[in-house]
Subunit: 236 residues, 2 copies
Amino acid sequence: MSEHTVSAYDQELTEIAGKIAEMGGLAESIVSNAVSALITQDLVLAQSTIDRDQRLDDLLHEIEMRNVQVIARRQPMGQDLREIMAATRIANDLERVGDMAKNVAKRVIAIDSDLKSKKLAIGVEHMTELALNQLKAVLDAFTRKDAEAAVRIRGQDAEIDAIYTSLFRELLTYMMEDPRNITQCAHLLFCAKNIERIGDHATNIAENVFYMVKGDHLLDDRPRMDETGVEDKESV
Amino acid sequence: MSEHTVSAYDQELTEIAGKIAEMGGLAESIVSNAVSALITQDLVLAQSTIDRDQRLDDLLHEIEMRNVQVIARRQPMGQDLREIMAATRIANDLERVGDMAKNVAKRVIAIDSDLKSKKLAIGVEHMTELALNQLKAVLDAFTRKDAEAAVRIRGQDAEIDAIYTSLFRELLTYMMEDPRNITQCAHLLFCAKNIERIGDHATNIAENVFYMVKGDHLLDDRPRMDETGVEDKESV
């Protein structure tokens, strides 16, 4: 490859990384707004969050198409190829993070009443904060090509799972205490699950960062647990 | 391209289609077994279903890697390129169908008691049958490159959504009738949602078949509704 070609190629990789960063920032903002809308029962914010998710879908298609063109034109090998494949997979995970947030926003509109319990709201907020921290940290690891950080981040998902399991039980308790809580709590069960799955997507991204840098798949030695109590060696 | 090259390329596309068919058959079998395990509370079948899902993940990685190699080697354009991109996306949807089934199987183990209601079981079975029919039909449309069938199949997802919404309400009613039903019904809510989402994945596949054949995205004129009652123009 001539110097000019290499430099143009580097430019392409930088542009792909920039698009991933744009998706990441947008996904974080959508998650944050969806959960704010849930806590404050802000129906206008919920609707605008639903509408903004479309941009993530558009960015995913743009990244997929661009990456295919780069592969066809450059025929990359080794880490270059892995970087493009990882970028495509990460874009898919970020698009799904947006879907999770959109689901929460839709349920804000379905619930359309104040949350029954301040304690529940705090639990949901705390889980969201952890999930957003994971997402930010893993996108940072992608930018820095930091495999060690990716491994560390993946290990932290257990904390989100534990909060989710405790929220799941608490929601069932509220349902049992008063049947009038059941409809709202059923929607909140799905909201909590959606946020827990944002943590799973951050974990997927961490695994792709590791693969990109090391060329090898992370061994899955951490059994994932959820409220079913059934061990699972991979993301659900 | 020489005749030899074209023929080798056709052979590669046929192999990719064969791998998609293998994933499709496996995904259908896993869904069917997961729901059988749920209806009959067969914990052994549930565990073997969870274990079999790994093969779908492996097939997805194999297809992704193979498709990237074909793009790098052949630099396909037009429908050839769209066929490979559609295959990659369809493989992703089929892997997620397996995840949905695995989630159901995990909840079988969490429930670990007979279903409270025969009527619920019939509803879940009926919804699964429709979802599996959609999945079979859309994979057939992929093989036949049949865009018209894809449009038709996409339109049929509304029936699955309607059954899901009715099951959601019924589950809430059981919860309200007797608090002892709440834990089981909470798990069944998630099972029903997982099956409903298999229909969404069939819809995604239909849209990719259309794109592959026509080179154009299907306009989304069918508002999707779910139990939140909030209209949504795309899959969740």
